[in-house]
Symmetry: C2
Subunit: 215 residues, 2 copies
């Protein structure tokens, strides 16, 4: 097994860094209704398939949703879940209510990403069962960066009841919803994350999140 000698350049590093820094979570207030070509969706999925996967298990399933009825059902489920969660944010409920937290109907394509449970033991997953779910998240992050490079907006909706959305999409038993993604053209990407711009949370500096040798 001879290794390849492909070497990336400083310029390549700069491109990746630029894509990483300009990636945003795009919501319904920025999506445009313009349809997204299937060829672009295929490039997102192509990026997903080359994600690392524990034991090369590739335990991902992508449900591509354009149908307005299906998206409407998911949106109704989001509304119920969101209404139930809002009281958790006591003292900030007004600010919370003003936030646009999804783009299920405003974006022309949604992709529900599921974890498919394995048939038997998976190499690397026996001691950390959640490694299978983590694999699916790696694929999603690849898609997110590819979407930004293609100048497409992508938003991850996590205010959802995974079981209920699984039922809407008729997911087989054991399949677990990892992410519900909204994808579409956008009128632009914010210079900084919206929650940072609105003062919901501050950006942490590097020094506050690194330790050396141990805690």
């Amino acid at each position: 097994m001879e290794p390849t000698t492909k070497m990336f350049t400083d310029r390549d590093v700069a491109v990746l860094e630029d894509i990483i820094r300009h990636r945003r979570d795009v919501r319904g207030n920025r999506f445009m209704p313009k349809p997204v070509e299937q060829s672009l969706i295929d490039r997102l999925l192509g990026a997903a398939l080359f994600a690392p996967s524990v034991g090369f298990s590739q335990p991902w399933v992508f449900v591509i949703i354009r149908d307005a009825t299906v998206r409407q059902q998911v949106k109704e489920s989001f509304d119920l879940t969101n209404a139930a969660t809002q009281p958790s944010f006591s003292g900030r409920q007004e600010q919370y209510a003003r936030l646009k937290l999804e783009g299920i109907l405003e974006s022309p394509v949604n992709i529900a990403v599921f974890y498919r449970p394995p048939d038997g033991p998976v190499l690397g997953q026996t001691a950390m069962p959640e490694a299978g779910l983590f694999t699916v998240v790696c694929a999603i992050q690849n898609m997110w960066l590819m979407a930004r490079a293609l100048n497409l907006g992508l938003g991850w909706v996590s205010i959802l009841d995974a079981q209920k959305v699984g039922n809407i999409l008729r997911a087989p038993a054991g399949h677990q919803l990892v992410a519900y993604l909204c994808i579409g053209y956008t009128d632009g990407f914010l210079a900084r994350p919206e929650l940072e711009l609105l003062g919901w949370e501050k950006r942490r500096v590097l020094e506050s999140v690194i330790r050396y040798e141990c805690f």
Copy 2:
């Protein structure tokens, strides 16, 4: 809040696609002992900090480990966990035993990545508590791609008892080990994943992992 107009080009997309396709999980059989400059580790961490995070919570902590004694302790813990898991792979135990599954000592730098639990409710995490862990995985995938662009090898070790490794690193209560990464220069990157080359698992084609509208 005016959006930015930064547009990426077809060439940028090709660079990202190339990095994604050439990324590999690098293990002890390919690492070289040459030290890794702190400036490169800082670029990996810089990529991590610009990952998406649920509710902009940034719940990540990175423990950078160069000390040989600490790495030796983690390696001993890996050996115990790996020996316990091997019998799960009945019929493939010999092949399993021949696989090199970590590079804890061969790589000069390890980074243990932890999830730090929040002080209160996090926007977007109330309905899916695992969204916090998923955020940390997004940061790890950013680091992995950046490592490949910098021509550095990175391997994710998941055959570990998260609690025991947390104890070795004196992690505070509630902090959860998400990934243990081995980082170093490598003699090259394999053309395809090692587990694919060795016939452990086959690559799945796109058609087998997509559904339209629902399952």
